[in-house]
Amino acid sequence: MSAILQAQGVGVRLGGVPIVNGADLSLRTGELTAMVGPNGAGKTTLIRALAGLLPFEGRIAINGRALAEISARERARRIAYLPQGNVFHWPLSVADVVALGRTPHADPFSGITADDRAAVVRALTITETETFATRPVTTLSGGERARVALARALATQAAVLLADEPTVSLDPRHQLVVMQLLRDAARAGGAVLAVVHDLALAARFADRVLVMDKGRIVAGAPPGEALTAERIAAVFGVEVIPVDVGGATVPVASRAI
């Protein structure tokens, strides 16, 4: 499978302080990549740089073209970014929020196209948010908001989806639903990178796992190779027990070291 987004030697400084150092990674079409790492490891900073929102050293390329060479609008059509926190400042309806995902495709002279409408309906349907499509987004529960935010990002139908902690504040069922959605989005021809805190979810759903520690990517491999007990102990400071879930062996944290 071909790499669609590639980062080589990416470093990011915030206020002069190096947050990410020498990060190499590639996201491939059809794959869900999970990024794990302790708090403060630089996951959010790296994902924001990949989304073109931060100045960085090194090279980030999409389809072989450097991020700096393409326009913001072109970049927005190719890379959808779902930030942490699911912020909604105005009580827009859920459908209007999801339609914002079509902004990079909008043409001021043609208005809403049939493609836009189909993309919005599809995003509402697969995230199970269509039942409250007309409600103001600010009246929803945390879990509902998280799904609406994901629906907005999916509605862009970009080749790359970068999701920063998409399962935070979701109940167990919707955590599984969202991880499955991300994997489906990858299988449908996207390259998906998701920051995930739950190692078990990462091991179970991701095709590859990137482990970040102190601003560096210390592992990038299929879950079984990336999430070894030794590495988890070294990076997260926890002991894990391997548990068999539906045919996959996933690490479950048992004790702080």
């Binding site: 913001a72 970049r75 927005a76 400042h89 009580p91 914002l100 902004t103």
Partner: protein, 342 residues
């Protein structure tokens, strides 16, 4: 989404009709009583005393009320969209206050006749310094607290500047002229005032309206908006310059007029909802209607029964009516403002 466009169109047409009706009433209102028929025939053929009164005295005043009201309504909606806060308005940045400093300096020191470009240019420069300075100080990821505090500082500093100009005014007459001008009025404004202000006001409308899609994307926060292709720096710059051009020119011609920018977007949200892009045009029309109505009110309410020629000042009326109204609205809609379930 289509149905909402249709209901928006109905609202826009209704507000435009309201502005037209108020404009005709405005042409009729004043010391000389004129019937609607006389007002319209005077407007179109310009014959007789009615023609002169309507065309030369009341028409420029009415058009200025509409243009300036629309400018305040639109810039309020734009700033609320940019800052994602329903309490934002030009005065939050100290823009009208700073514009007042520049314009009153020109007036007090007689650098400019009332109809030269010096007053609006000084007003625009003042507004530009305050809004630009605020955005520069508050920085890229300004919290609301920082923005409000910096705006408060600019407004206070500008207030002190105006006080200093009054304090050091060369003659008591100049001080009185500035003091009255600061209260806001459209009395005795001519076609010249209109021609001076209109280009700046129209330029500000274009700059503010072009960014409407960005205000909508900013609903999701700055990072998400940027990821959707919005150039945040350009948006900020255009809103700063647009607000400064509009507010600076408006204040230079009409003096200090408050609360239209705050109230107009709120009034239309009950019909168009909270989408910051869809609020813009109705808010501009509502601003035009509000200021035209206020300008009719100052002519109908005699300030001093013994001297009927003296009118109430426009800024006084908009504040006296605007503030209690705004407080009542906040009280009624506080749950909506807080974003909690209704």
């Amino acid at each position: 989404m289509l149905s909402s466009c249709r209901s928006d169109l109905r609202l826009v047409l209704a507000l435009a009709a309201l502005v037209l009706v108020l404009a005709v009433i405005s042409l009729m209102s004043g010391p000389a009583s004129i019937t609607p028929r006389q007002a319209l025939s005077g407007l179109f053929d310009g014959q007789g005393a009615e023609g002169i009164i309507v065309r030369d005295i009341r028409l420029p005043r009415t058009l200025l009320a509409i243009l300036i009201g629309a400018t305040f309504g639109l810039s309020g909606a734009a700033l609320q969209g940019l800052l994602r806060n329903p309490l934002a308005e030009p005065a939050l940045f100290g823009a009208p206050q700073a514009a007042s400093v520049g314009a009153s300096f020109m007036i007090a020191y007689g650098f400019a006749g009332a109809t030269s470009f010096a007053v609006p240019l000084a007003g625009i420069a003042g507004a530009l310094v305050s809004v630009g300075g605020l955005v520069a100080i508050a920085g890229r990821r300004a919290s609301l607290t920082v923005t409000l505090l910096a705006g408060l500082a600019f407004a206070s500093f500008a207030g002190a500047g105006t006080a200093l100009i009054l304090n050091l005014a060369p003659t008591p007459y100049a001080a009185l002229e500035v003091a009255f001008w600061l209260l806001g009025s459209l009395e005795d404004r001519s076609v010249d005032h209109l021609l001076i202000a209109a280009p700046f006001l129209l330029a500000s409308w274009i700059l503010l309206a072009l960014n409407a899609p960005a205000y909508r994307a900013l609903t999701l926060g700055e990072d998400a908006a940027a990821s959707l292709g919005v150039d945040l720096n350009r948006t900020r710059m255009m809103v700063v310059v647009g607000t400064a051009l509009g507010v600076g020119a408006a204040v230079a011609v009409a003096g200090s007029i408050g609360f239209i920018g705050l109230v107009a977007p709120h009034l239309v949200r009950r019909w168009v909802g909270s989408d910051p892009a869809r609020v813009c045009l109705p808010a501009a029309l509502m601003g035009a209607a509000l200021l035209t109505a206020a300008d009719i009110a100052v002519r109908l309410i005699p300030a001093n029964p013994n001297a009927t020629a003296i009118e109430l000042k426009l800024g006084v009326v908009t504040a006296l009516i605007g503030v209690p109204f705004f407080l009542a609205m906040i009280f009624r809609e506080r749950r909506l403002l807080e974003g909690s379930p209704q």
